[in-house]
Amino acid sequence: MLFFRSEERIAEWCKSRGLDPRPVVRMDQLWHLAVTWYGSRLEAESRRPAPGEMRGIFEGLGLEGDFWDPTTDTFG
């Protein structure tokens, strides 16, 4: 999860590694994600969004498709 100056720099970075570029996220979208994930992290009742909630959060920001779908997560 990295910062890039532009889509051109992302394309260069991916090409040099033989990777396909992924969807990009604007800074205002990233701020929304940061607040949603961490806005209550120092509080007792804080928790990480559940997979279904995550999908809704992403969709609300226009981040859709399989790449942003965590519901197939079987980790742990």
Binding site: F3, F4, D28, W31, V35, Y38, P70
Partner: protein, 146 residues
């Protein structure tokens, strides 16, 4: 408040106060529990995806958005310097602390420095982008790589 929650709150408050991840003993002092009990809590918090532990299953590597080790994403809030795990977490630190801050990072391709001021309502206007290689379904399979 159960012991896991007490440990989580004590851990995060200690990080917020200093910028450093405390030892299990220091957290134990705050919650009046042994370091062994604190480490048991860490493992349960990891299972809830609130912490990422090193391979020893005891040492904190990430208490998202905070990193226990130096990274390329440095965030200063109220004169305290924190390290973030990734670009997302770099914005997550001012969001978690509810305080304005400054993010220092870089473009991963050109290495151009990024200096981004973040207010209580979000970052200043900025055309830089965030890119993640790993699909959301696989983020926690290897959070360090993600």
């Amino acid at each position: 408040m159960d012991i896991d929650t007490r440990v989580k709150v004590a851990l995060y408050r200690a990080i917020a106060d200093s910028g450093n991840v405390p030892t299990a003993e220091e957290v134990g002092d705050r919650v009046r529990a042994s370091s062994a009990t604190v480490r048991e809590c860490y493992r349960r918090l990891r299972a809830r995806r609130l912490l990422w532990l090193e391979a020893d299953d005891a040492t904190i590597r990430m208490a998202p958005p905070f990193s226990a080790v130096p990274t390329q994403h440095q965030v200063t809030v109220d004169g305290i310097t924190y390290f973030a795990n990734c670009a997302w977490d770099a914005l997550g630190i001012p969001a978690a602390l509810h305080r304005p801050g400054t993010v220092l990072s870089r473009c991963e391709q050109s290495l151009e420095p990024l200096r981004l001021r973040v207010g209580n309502d979000g970052p200043e206007a900025c055309s830089w982008l965030f890119h993640c290689l790993v699909p959301a379904a696989k983020w926690w399979q290897d959070l360090v790589f993600t």
